[in-house]
């Protein structure tokens, strides 16, 4: 374990250091403007607020690296949420419910992946269709009304904390470590990079291109379902409309973190920092009593500035 962590830090590279520098700069501005910003409760608050986006962004990063995009994550989360909530309300044991809800996410990811690989359709279009389809299923299933009354046993999982750190933050941290290991240490991770970097060359070199893409979309679906469980645990209810625009925040986090929408490049550490930057921005601007409209403006500017810096520096990185 200590070996892993050591390796984790030794692997922070130029691009990731740049993202981290951006986070520190933004944090410094807020710390200077607001006394409460740099306090332990607020930092934990930021992490808590970033956890769901970070979770979605982990899966999104793998999909983007493998040369695709997943626009359907929000509705997949909504569908997992309402089905999971219905199971809980019906008295299904908590572990079984969680497995079931995660299964729903994986199944949605499989459908996306199958249409993209065997169906030969474009990822953008398939997941755009999924965006409507899964949302519709969640709405139809619930009749449009939220499901209330989730058992405390379930809610305790997401509302608990360990040594002051909320469970969702710990859970997403562990997932991030797992995804990081997959991406940087396993053949599957190299396959994601190869398939996204040059699908034809990867196929000729014997990479199982279809399975690799399927895996990316299934992991993305799984992460959406995990995010859904965290959210309904904290809210105590499952709304069929939850997860609206999650896909855009996740893509933004991945892009700020250095993932190339052309595929073949991206970093889990970068994505995590990207998600925290977005969370910090919202938190800090709220502390400074900046109107929500301006928060949106700041988010847009940060994304574009990050891409411009990327463009200006990537020439030397090859």
């Amino acid at each position: 374990m200590s070996n892993l962590i050591q390796s984790l830090f030794s692997r922070i590279r130029f691009r990731e250091a740049g993202t981290l520098l951006g986070l520190i700069l933004i944090g410094a501005v807020f710390a200077w403007q607001s006394e409460t910003f740099l306090t332990a409760p607020n930092i934990i608050n930021i992490l808590q607020q970033s956890a769901i986006n970070a979770c979605i962004a982990l899966g999104m990063t793998l999909v983007i690296i493998s040369g695709g995009i997943d626009l359907s994550v929000g509705p997949v989360a909504a569908l997992s949420a309402v089905l999971g909530a219905a199971m809980l309300v019906a008295g299904v044991p908590v572990p079984l419910t969680i497995l079931g809800a995660l299964g729903v996410g994986v199944a949605c990811g499989f459908v996306n992946g199958a249409l993209i690989t065997w169906g030969g359709l474009q990822p953008f279009i398939v997941t755009l269709g999924g965006l409507s389809l899964y949302r519709a299923l969640a709405l139809i299933y619930t009749g449009g009304t939220p499901i209330f009354g989730l058992p405390d046993e379930f809610r305790a999982l997401t509302n608990g904390a360990w040594m002051g750190v909320p469970n969702p933050v710990i859970a997403v941290g562990i997932l991030a470590l797992l995804v990081w290991v997959i991406l940087t240490k396993t053949p599957l991770g190299e396959y994601f990079m190869a398939v996204g970097g040059n699908p034809e060359a990867a196929r000729i070199a014997g990479v199982p291109v279809t399975l690799t893409k399927l895996a990316a979309y299934m992991i993305s679906g799984l992460m959406a379902a995990v995010a859904a469980m965290i959210l309904i645990g904290r809210l105590g209810a499952a709304e069929p409309t939850l997860g609206t625009l999650w896909e855009l925040d996740a893509i933004a986090a991945a892009a700020i973190g250095g993932a190339s929408l052309m595929g073949g490049r991206g970093s889990i550490i970068g994505t995590l920092i990207g998600a925290i930057i977005l969370g910090t921005l919202r938190n800090g601007l709220t502390l400074m009593n900046v109107q929500a409209f301006y928060q949106l403006l700041a988010t847009g500017i940060i994304i574009i500035v990050a891409m411009l810096i990327d463009k200006l520096t990537s020439g030397k990185q090859g």
Binding site: P187, E190, Y191, A201, A205, G206, G264
Partner: protein, 498 residues
């Protein structure tokens, strides 16, 4: 009579390679002039100079005796030169008339609107003597290639071209369509338009041309009258002297490793059968489009065959690149950037990609092991610089090629499939790759080398298959009935007779 076009002393150098050495060419008004030479002889470069796509380093171009400067395609058009490319440069969704007037639309209302009806009337007038059956309002995509060529010719006439260069215009025409093209070309010539006709097909050249200029290795070999000069003599001029088989060490055994039987895919590859032995280097020669790359891709499992089988040690091998790699095949593709490398990934990954599982323990890649093995292999093949952690995209073409070969050295590959292994590689790296091929053979591996460079095929091969229009037209080698491996024998088997 002044020549319509005269080129003299045209030089062109790319980097350190001179591709045209003082080439000259003279075409009279109304003459159909053949431009002949093997792949890489400099024909395309010369056409590009003429059409303003590239600038010559030296030499003079004269039209009707007056020197002209052609620095851009626009200059070429202004000088009355039009080019009909092999890959037609049209917008498929636009109509025939719109394509003819592309970039120079007829306008009305003070230039605000395109005058469609006037364009279509003018297009009809231009097309009438060429092929009156073409509907000027139909999108170009709905036309067959032959008709599209006619549209391209009409476009050339529209810009008052007096010199039309056609690059391999018949490569995808049926015999009937060819007859039609012969008519059109003859009519144009009768009206005083000069035609430069590039083709590999001797019968076409002899049917259409009255003069031919022959290039070899970027040099002018001669300008000869046709048909006074015989077919044999023209081929002789194209390929040069018969080179004696270059001496290299032979390691071919009698042990059959690969048996290919009746392999076919569409028209590209038809009924290909041959065997390959351990330690043997088999060359595959032929013109571009003869089906060599396609055959190699079928063997590697990258494309799927309609019929036929591929057997290793007498056992059929399943389809698909993964199954073929497991069975011991390794393809080194021609288009390295497109089909070979994962540009942003380090050399180590690019080498280990097909065998990542063997470099893994408990599901994790043993990066140290992969790096050590990559370094060892790359030291052997002379990767420069010897830094396997750098992205492969940052290396030169020759070094990328060494890494792709290293990929198969690391994967227990028994049958190496090289497609144009030295294309775009400098001379020094070329020799290293030849040595590597020889080393593979000496270790008992079987090797297939597809190459358009005859000296290369002759240098590395124990036997040579020649392909023509999707079929194996000859098997050359010491003591074989089709003859020895010589440039003349290869050229004879490669060039279509009809």
């Amino acid at each position: 009579m002044l020549p319509r076009l005269s080129l003299s002393g045209i030089d062109k150098t790319y980097g350190s390679t001179q591709v045209l050495h003082g080439v000259s060419l003279t075409v009279r008004p109304g003459e159909v002039h053949g431009l002949l030479g093997e792949n890489g002889a400099g024909k395309s470069t010369l056409l590009n100079v003429l059409s303003g796509v590239i600038r010559a380093d030296g030499g003079v171009i004269r039209i009707d005796g007056k020197p002209v400067t052609i620095a851009s395609p626009r200059d070429a058009t202004a000088a009355g030169i039009a080019m009909i490319h092999q890959e037609l440069q049209q917008v498929p969704e636009l109509s025939v008339a719109q394509n003819i007037f592309l970039g120079g639309a007829m306008r009305r209302f003070g230039g605000l609107l395109v005058d469609r009806s006037a364009q279509e009337a003018e297009a009809r007038r231009l097309l009438a003597p060429l092929d009156a059956n073409i509907d000027v309002a139909a999108p170009v995509r709905s036309l067959r290639v032959a008709k599209r060529q006619i549209v391209e010719i009409a476009k050339a006439l529209r810009s008052n071209a007096r010199i039309i260069a056609m690059d391999e215009p018949t490569s995808s025409l049926t015999p009937n369509e060819f007859e039609r093209l012969v008519q059109v070309v003859a009519n144009l010539a009768a009206q005083g338009v000069s035609i430069i006709y590039v083709s590999h097909k001797m019968d076409e050249v002899f049917r259409l041309c009255s003069q031919a200029t022959i290039l070899r290795d970027g040099r002018l070999v001669g300008q000869v009258p046709i048909p006074e000069t015989g077919v044999g003599q023209v081929i002789e001029l194209m390929v040069g002297r018969d080179l004696a088989t270059a001496s290299h060490h032979r390691f071919a055994t009698n042990q059959k490793v690969l048996t290919v039987q009746g392999l076919a895919r569409g028209r590209a590859v038809q009924d290909a059968s041959f065997v390959l032995h351990a330690g043997e280097v088999l060359g595959i020669a032929g013109l571009v489009g003869a089906g060599r790359t396609e055959l190699l891709r079928l063997i590697a499992g990258v494309d799927s065959a309609d019929t036929g089988s591929v057997m290793i040690d007498g056992q059929p091998v399943a389809a698909g690149p993964r199954a073929r790699i497991r069975a011991g095949f390794g393809l080194v593709p021609e288009e390295r950037k497109r089909d070979g490398i994962i540009r942003h990934r380090p050399v180590t990954t690019n080498i280990g990609l097909p065998a990542l599982r063997r470099f893994s323990r408990l599901g994790m890649i043993r990066k140290g092991l992969l790096k050590a093995r990559s370094e060892e292999l790359m030291r052997e093949v002379g990767l420069r610089p010897l830094d396997v952690s750098r992205p492969i995209g940052s290396f030169s073409g020759g070094n990328q090629q060494k890494a792709i070969i290293g990929r198969w050295l690391a994967s227990n590959t028994r049958i190496y499939l090289f497609d144009e292994p030295t294309r775009g590689i400098d001379v020094g790296a070329k020799a290293e790759i030849y040595d590597l091929i020889e080393r593979l053979a000496s270790e008992g591996r079987a090797v297939i080398v597809v190459s358009s460079e005859l000296p290369e095929v002759i240098r590395v091969s124990d036997r040579v298959l020649v392909m023509r229009e999707g079929r194996i037209s000859a098997t050359l080698g010491p003591g074989l009935p089709d003859g020895e491996i010589t440039e003349a024998n290869i050229a004879r088997a490669a060039i279509p007779s009809s």
